[in-house]
């Protein structure tokens, strides 16, 4: 009996270990393959030049248009998602704290929104765009991606806020805080590292999504200078280049993927740095 337990323990440990480490291996494989395949095409030109004539047939240029377009869309959409998502998550956890049923209903709807595929958001954004008389543009792209990522900000931040003990609610109310003071001075600070995670997740999803921007942001070889101009994005740049029959262009697709991955890794590291710097035990 004792021996069986020891064997069980060993098998369980091996299986859970494999499951955990295989994820790290997969991430490393993805990064390695992208970098190997795109290595020849990775150059300074890729990130500082826009596509010149004949770029998609192997001509000169880079994907600056898509890098800038993607950053504009992701930052704009994340900003909107924070402006809507942060108060919404605080509302659910501060004002609705007595109303369990309403809380759960709202959470159910937000979960449903999170689950909607991004192509559906793209189609919805496209319809909205036509309804408002807009053409494919940076603004339309930002609004559509914001719709896609706002539920992520709300639910992720909400998850963290909902774990804050009720004793802290009571303590801050007992001191004479209003609910708004409690929300911003206590709850937001307490859940700050979770808020950073929420923003990071949303930013990553927003910058990496192709389907939502396909019809709404359009595509252009120019760097957008205005909200009503179309904007290129990295996922679409990868998509168009990867479909090319010319090997050099396909290499550039991998190089573009590498650039996108680097942007996401940088944002992830920055967020991690800030979330640790402002974590509860370091707050001043």
């Amino acid at each position: 009996m004792k021996k069986r337990k020891i064997v069980e323990e060993i098998i369980f440990r091996i299986l859970t270990g494999i499951a955990s480490y295989s994820l790290i291996v997969i991430l490393c494989l993805i990064i390695i393959i992208i970098f190997i395949k795109g290595f020849n095409a990775l150059s300074l030109d890729m990130i500082i030049k826009t596509p010149k004539g004949g770029y998609y047939y192997g001509g000169e240029g880079g994907v600056l248009n898509a890098i800038v377009g993607s950053l504009y869309i992701a930052f704009g959409a994340t900003l909107i998602a924070i402006l809507i998502g942060m108060p919404a998550a605080l509302y659910i956890n501060v004002h609705l704290v007595r109303y369990r049923r309403t809380q759960n209903t709202i959470r159910y709807f937000i979960d449903a929104l999170w689950g909607i595929p991004s192509i559906v958001y793209g189609a919805f954004g496209f319809t909205l765009m036509l309804f408002l008389g807009m053409s494919a543009s940076l603004l339309a792209g930002i609004i559509t991606v914001a719709l896609l990522i706002t539920p992520i900000v709300i639910r992720t931040f909400d998850e963290v806020l909902s774990t804050i003990p009720k004793g802290l609610h009571e303590a801050s109310l007992a001191l004479g805080s209003t609910r708004a003071e409690m929300a911003f001075k206590v709850m937001f600070k307490q859940g700050f590292s979770g808020f950073i995670t929420a923003v990071l997740l949303a930013f990553g999803r927003g910058i990496g999504d192709a389907a939502s921007v396909l019809f709404t942001a359009g595509y252009t070889d120019l760097v957008p200078t205005n909200l009503d101009e179309p904007a290129a994005t990295l996922p679409l740049a990868i998509f168009f280049q990867l479909g090319s029959p010319i090997p050099e262009v396909r290499e550039r697709a991998y190089a573009s993927a590498a650039i996108l991955t680097i942007i996401i890794l940088i944002s992830s590291l920055t967020a991690r740095f800030f979330s640790q710097k402002y974590s509860k035990s370091n707050l001043k």
Binding site: P165, K166, L173, L175, G176, E181, Q190, L283, K284
Partner: protein, 273 residues
Amino acid sequence: MEIKISETMIEQLIKTPEIKLNKQDSILRIKNLNVYAGNHHILKNINLEIPKNKITVLLGPSGCGKTTLLKSINKLTDLYLELKVSGQIYIENDDILNTIKNIPLIRQKMGLLSQKPYPLPVSIYKNVAYGIKLKGIKDKKLIDYNVEKKLREVGLWNEVKDRLNYSADNLSIGQQQRLCLARGLAVKPLIILADEPTSSLDPVSSKIIDNLFRELKKHYTIILVTHILRQAQRLADNIVFMNYGEIIEQGNPDEVFKNTKTSHMKEYMVEGN
């Protein structure tokens, strides 16, 4: 001139000083307080007067309604939809249960100390300054002065004066509890509501809190919830024994402990000792 004195006037003359005395002595009066959670009757017709500058101990077994009574006093019952509260609670002659006055201001008349310390997610300094700022005080020197004063009152100043800007999370649990007390005192309450404040502390930290209460009762009224009989015997000036949501004995601790009337409390005292 002839003055006619009726019987009722004499009665009133005799009664008036007594009423005045009562009002001066008690800082908080609870009348016919009932609390329901769904069909469950948690507090049953509570009538209670809390004497000023004394330690009133709410004693009783777990689940007897002590904490609910404490939460009703500063309206934290508002956080729980399932709780239905009726009756009157008078603080300085304001019925706080049925008032239209600003609830945060009413809550500032009471400082809360809970079972576990919940420091705010900011520095030690800001924890104490928080309540002072809520009172509208913006002058930095005045805030500094008050922070130091309150930290001294709870005997924490010397332990934390060199790390005021560090997170309150880094303090030991006993220090955190004293910080929460200082934070509560900073809003200048009339009453301190303490809900088993030493239950998560080690004996040394518990003793510090007990001694603090003895000092603090000179300036504040303290309502202490506990199920520890010895703590009640050490600290109480006034004992309220509760069982199943009812007050079954109350009064001076010497009387209550020596001449225990009810079997529930007798049993509790035997087990507690």
